[in-house]
């Protein structure tokens, strides 16, 4: 069993109103960042877990996302990285 740090990004599903993202977008426009399109505010989780290999660690975290960490109705997730400790 090897220890891994698995990073996950969870963001509101595209097309659903994201009030935090919209507020940040408006603030960036006010600051003059006119080229900014949409901003999506989500969560970044780092999960330390043991697994046989990196693929197993990622698969395990995908299951965690499906069951608890992300809401399948309103959020999307992506594995941002799997690092051996």
């Amino acid at each position: 069993m090897t220890r891994f740090r698995v990073s996950v990004h969870i963001v509101p599903r595209r097309g659903l109103l994201d009030p935090q993202g919209k507020a940040v977008t408006d603030a960036l426009h006010t600051l003059g960042f006119a080229s900014v399109g949409e901003v999506h505010v989500g969560r970044h989780l780092v999960i330390e877990t043991g697994a046989a290999d990196a693929a197993a660690a990622e698969a395990s975290v995908r299951t965690m996302c499906a069951r608890l960490l992300a809401n399948p109705v309103t959020e999307d997730f992506e594995i941002a990285g799997v690092v051996k400790e």
């Binding site: 659903l16 109103l17 009030p19 935090q20 608890l68 960490l69 809401n71 109705v73 309103t74």
Partner: protein, 229 residues
């Protein structure tokens, strides 16, 4: 009728629900601890408002895995009445007992009176009301914007599962009357079997003129009709 009110760590409306059932309806109520596996023969289960588990991750996301939720789901699957109010609605959605999801409000936390219109009276929580009744009661939430796919919303409308809508003083579901950006002004729904009901406003805080409104009482009186049917 015996009502079981579940206390999660962070729940804060158990006493309000208890007051509505015991002091105003004159029925029996018992508080149930979330770590227990015993509904104590309750006819109706209330998942009350509050901030279970600090609303960490998403409101209701962690509470849905509390031990007692296994029995609550069994109760619901057998046709037992489950009522989710505010945080309880969020928990019921996270648990899959109700469809859709409750997202962060479009304008932040709101604590204010709202008016909701009864859309259907054929459930255990609306049977004593009349379709079109406009009820005033408080909301107090930061994550109450009901959301789902357009297909889901159409299906909920077609199957008469949208029970309450935010409306203005004339009973119209306007943008201005919508306190949180909920899709189609939806304030409360039921499941397909019509025995699990969830709403964001707090009827248990509107059961006595001293509280500013007793419009919520008719919803609790509906439970009595159902329990004695």
């Amino acid at each position: 009728m015996k009502v079981g009110i579940v206390s999660f760590p962070g729940s804060n409306c158990e006493d309000d629900a208890f007051y509505a059932v015991v002091d105003q309806l004159g029925e029996e109520a018992v508080k149930l601890w979330h770590k227990d596996h015993d509904l104590q023969c309750s006819d109706v289960i209330i998942l009350p408002g509050g901030f279970a588990y600090g609303d960490y991750l998403r409101a209701g996301a962690i509470a849905r895995f509390s031990p007692i939720m296994r029995e609550v789901a069994e109760h619901a699957n057998k046709g037992g009445i489950v009522l989710g109010i505010c945080n309880g609605f969020q928990i019921a959605c996270e648990a899959g007992l109700l469809p859709g999801a409750l997202l962060r409000n479009d304008v932040g936390y709101r604590s204010m009176p709202v008016t909701i219109r009864v859309e259907h009276a054929n459930t255990a929580f609306t049977s004593a009301a009349k379709v079109g009744d406009c009820l005033t009661m408080p909301i107090a939430h930061g994550e109450g914007r009901f959301a789902g796919s357009e297909d889901l919303l159409d299906q909920l409308e077609n199957d008469a599962q949208v029970l309450f809508r935010y409306v203005d003083a004339s009973g119209a579901p306007t943008v201005d009357a919508n306190p949180n950006g909920a899709m189609r002004n939806i304030a409360g729904i039921c499941n397909a079997a019509r025995n699990v009901i969830g709403l964001m406003p707090h009827p248990e805080r509107a059961v006595d003129p001293l509280l500013g409104s007793k419009d919520g009482l008719v919803l609790f009186e509906s439970l009595l009709v159902a329990a004695h049917a």
